[in-house]
Symmetry: C2
Subunit: 571 residues, 2 copies
């Protein structure tokens, strides 16, 4: 591509509402333009990247045996009423009335439409399993669209839906899709993790989210050093310490601690690390307050707490008045020793392994030292209550956990019979009996991947594309070709050579000055840059630089071509 | 592709509302399924065809220097108010309110959005000309959606918009697009014509519609035998006869003709052909009635008549009472001889070349024989008033006209400054002066082409795809492979051989009986069919048949492969 024949429109200033780096860089590079809140035009440059992602997704879906189709964006209300989602989906559903007052929505997802298709098309177990997918524009009327295409209202999605006679078959296709997703993100050159997800709301059997790792990610992910285990930090299990609890060594001692309320205060006051301090949190239970005990250096995981049988399905901290009424003591001095019998004491696994610990004295300005479970304090139940931390053992026993932040770009989900049951989608089995189908669904945010990749791959000069996503793999920058026919000739020659080798190369023949040209090529993130200048041509060399390296090298023609042959073979 | 791994779902019965053959065949072949009125799901089979069309369109647009981008489907009301089309576009515009009560529409076309994009992106004449295109889903809320994807509400369109400093530049790109469209339809293997279109409403300079020729087409097209001239029949010019009008030979004679009113009656009564009879039609003019005179075998073209200065911009026939009041004579007996002076006599070019003709006598039950212009009858004006007919000379002087029916699938249009003016889209010229841009727009109905191709290419057994549009170029039908390992082996071998040669081939391994399998393959229209049977394998041959031929041939392996090498080279 000759850039003089293309539309490159980089800009210096971006609107203040571009809060995250991918949004700013996509605007600055001229990949997207805002049409309305959460609604973006993909410029020619942006579309090249979007299509690269789309192509890899399509190839891997095809390879995994999924069959592409195309469902409409406009969907009739009647189908959504069959599953009850016309109401339940909430405000994100963009509802529409046509000229005949028929009610429709702009599809935010296609479970209803594909299940309707399947119940009409699939009659026999012989047609199963089958996995339909599409790459198609969706709309979700986000209440606060932001972050550019990261959380846009109109977006491009790949969604797949598989149909099965049995749960086992659903599980097999689920694994095939899991593997396909791993190949997709690997081919795109992204650092990612497949993360166990909560299946609570929909009630399926298994679910994984695929996250692109980036410091700016909204979700914290715990992953194992020794396996592919990964889970949202909120969901990762904290194992009990391997070593048994030591026997008590110290005697219980009541210590006055005026004004010493926080773990930090206690730790300093007693001259011990926070992990030897026990903190006690009072929350509202089904019947009165409940005490949750954790090590001073650990944080309560409210999702885990909410699942305790003593709690009403959510974890709500008790207020100061409630605490004083139930214990006669102000917050900061509560502990398990001598706590009123009516309050259950739930102890985190790590806290349960402590001996000779310090805890609140259940009286204002008082603590206990040398406290021990059983001997001094009741244990109603030991449970996993805390958030995992860096260095915790992995729940699968293989290595330790690291914590990273991630951006969700894919989701695989076993839907079970939820939709097929609601919409009466069944097939005849081998015995001629009608059986409700099992379903899986598998989504990828195609347009979101573009933004996530930038969050992961950028520097001060701009985007640093992985090869597979770059708008062009290489750029040839020509310095003052009008002044020197030899320079123009050398650039044209190299351009033709690279094209002939199948390298997707851009010839920057726009006639910009070198500084502006280099800034553009760096900003839009081309992985390989070759500069053709008068001095280089005189020396028989080109100046080559990788986008992710700071140094350039003088290479002759053969060396430049060899470079692309090597990378072509690797990709 | 192994068809056992694909989703083929042909059906026997189609709904009664499938009125045209393409709609019926697309449903029977299982290419589309209706979701709601005018809203269709493209099944895997249908999508394969749609993607073939899309690909050819994309390749030729790229080749013609157009640059692909992707604009949103949801567009804000504010832009449409700038051009006044929020009201003017009418009921086809699907209007939408989002959760914050903002007003939007589902884009039926993108002039507003692209002009907004251009006014922000294009600052200098140096960036011109530029031609942006997209292939994208559109919605028009048709009051009566029908004919399947031929007139659907949600449809796939390629739309392109070019921007220019001058009208001349616009004209050059217009020609480039015209040629690209011709290549697209030629590559798709369709019989088509580029037809001069009426530019009245939008007021641009030039406009052509591209029509796929098919007997079921809604539009009648006149095209020349000796050139690429083609026009909608309503717009094709009827030339004056080449020979001069003969001198009068007969005397004017008044003849009683009781009850002889129609051209057919007159022709029979006088024993002369219809082309020697003059028919006179009275229409409402700006001031009183106007007489339009045509040859008895010609039809009035109301679009041409409406443009006469004597008419008020439309052509409305006078009622019987008006005629009697103005002439004292009942309809059927009106003629130019002795017509009241107040009524202008506009004579069609062909009628003006008549001598010694028969016409109405301006008295009930009376005609004139031997009538002649000038000598007997006034001529206010000679004009082109009639519809062209088969065999007329071509307006460009090259050969004669034929008439065919067509389906509009593409449209190229010079918009001029209409949108750029309304939306303030200008660039700086070489003198640094702001100048409003000129625009062209170029649309192709991608999904409509699929239906139009079927209207043109089908037989009693189903669709007969042109090679470039077929879901697969070839099908291998295997007869009873489970009973005979050699048959299975021969089929697999041929399948691999064809794939290795880059032939897009389907192996029908679904295990159907031969009759059902052949019916499916014919219905879905695969151009080449190779049958692998026990008898054939024993004889070392395959049974080959082209979809558009009635006879099959026994060919050995080498001959089958040679066949596809030949067609590959041709395509």
């Amino acid at each position: 591509m000759r850039l003089s024949q293309f539309h490159i429109a980089t800009v210096k200033e971006v609107p203040a509402d571009a809060e995250i780096v991918s949004h700013r860089l996509m605007l600055r590079a001229g990949m997207i333009r805002k049409l309305a809140a959460g609604i973006y035009t993909w410029t020619p440059l942006g579309l090249r990247v979007l299509r690269r992602v789309e192509r890899v997704v399509r190839e891997e879906m095809d390879r995994a045996g999924a069959i592409e189709m195309l469902m409409p964006s406009i969907q009739p209300k009647e189908l959504w009423e069959e599953t009850g989602r016309w109401q339940k989906f909430g405000g994100q559903l963009l509802k529409i009335r046509d000229r005949k007052d028929g009610e429709f929505c702009y599809g935010p997802t296609h479970e209803e439409v594909v299940t309707d298709f399947a119940r009409n098309e699939l009659k026999s177990y012989r047609q199963l399993p089958v996995n339909f997918y599409q790459i198609q524009t969706k709309f979700r009327d986000e209440i606060r669209p932001r972050f550019g295409v990261m959380r846009a209202r109109e977006f491009l999605m790949k969604d797949a839906y598989s149909f099965h006679l049995t749960a086992e078959c659903m599980d097999r296709t689920y694994r095939v899709m899991y593997d396909a997703y791993a190949r997709i993100f690997t081919r795109l050159g992204l650092k990612f993790r497949a993360v166990q997800a909560d299946t609570g709301a929909i009630g399926g059997n298994a679910s994984h989210e695929f996250h692109v790792l980036a410091d700016s990610g909204e979700d914290a992910i715990a992953f194992a050093s020794g396996s592919d285990y990964a889970a949202n930090v909120e969901l990762a299990e904290a194992l009990a310490p391997a070593a048994p609890r030591p026997a008590p060594a110290a005697a219980l001692e009541r210590v006055p601690t005026p004004g010493v309320r926080t773990v930090e205060d206690v730790s300093a006051h007693f001259g011990i690390p926070a992990q030897r301090v026990l903190k006690t949190i009072l929350v509202r239970g089904r019947e009165g307050l409940v005490a949750l005990c954790l090590r001073g250096d650990h944080e309560l995981n409210e999702i885990k707490a909410a699942k305790l049988p003593e709690l009403p399905g959510e974890s709500v901290l008790a207020g100061e008045a409630e605490i004083v009424a139930a214990t006669g003591t102000r917050p900061g001095f509560i502990g398990p020793v001598g706590l009123p019998e009516a309050i259950p004491v739930i102890v985190d696994r790590s806290a349960a392994a402590l001996a000779d610990f310090v805890c609140g004295g259940n009286a204002d300005d008082t603590h206990y030292r040398g406290a021990n479970w059983e001997r001094d304090a009741r244990v109603t139940r030991v449970a996993d209550l805390r958030k995992v931390v860096e260095g915790d053992p992995s729940p699968d026993g293989r290595g330790t956990l690291s914590i990273a932040r991630g951006i969700e770009v894919g989701h695989v989900f076993q839907l079970g019979q939820k939709y097929a049951e609601a919409m009466g989608a069944s097939v005849l089995d081998e015995q001629g009996k009608a059986r409700v189908m099992y379903m899986g669904c598998y989504g990828i945010g195609v347009s979101r991947i573009v933004a996530a990749a930038i969050e992961q791959n950028h520097d001060d000069a701009g985007i640093v594309w992985p090869e597979a996503m770059a708008p062009w793999r290489a750029a040839i920058c020509v310095i003052n070709p009008k002044n020197d026919a030899k320079v123009a000739e050398a650039a044209e020659g190299l351009y033709r050579d690279l094209l002939a080798r199948g390298v997707d190369v851009a010839l920057d023949d726009r006639g910009l000055r070198p500084g502006a040209m280099f800034a553009d090529i760096e900003l839009i993130g081309i992985p390989h840059r070759v500069v053709v200048s008068e001095r280089g041509v005189a020396a028989g060399t080109f100046e080559y630089r990788r986008r992710d390296e700071s140094e350039s090298r003088a290479l002759d023609r053969a060396a430049v071509l060899a470079l692309f042959e090597a990378t072509a073979a690797a990709s």
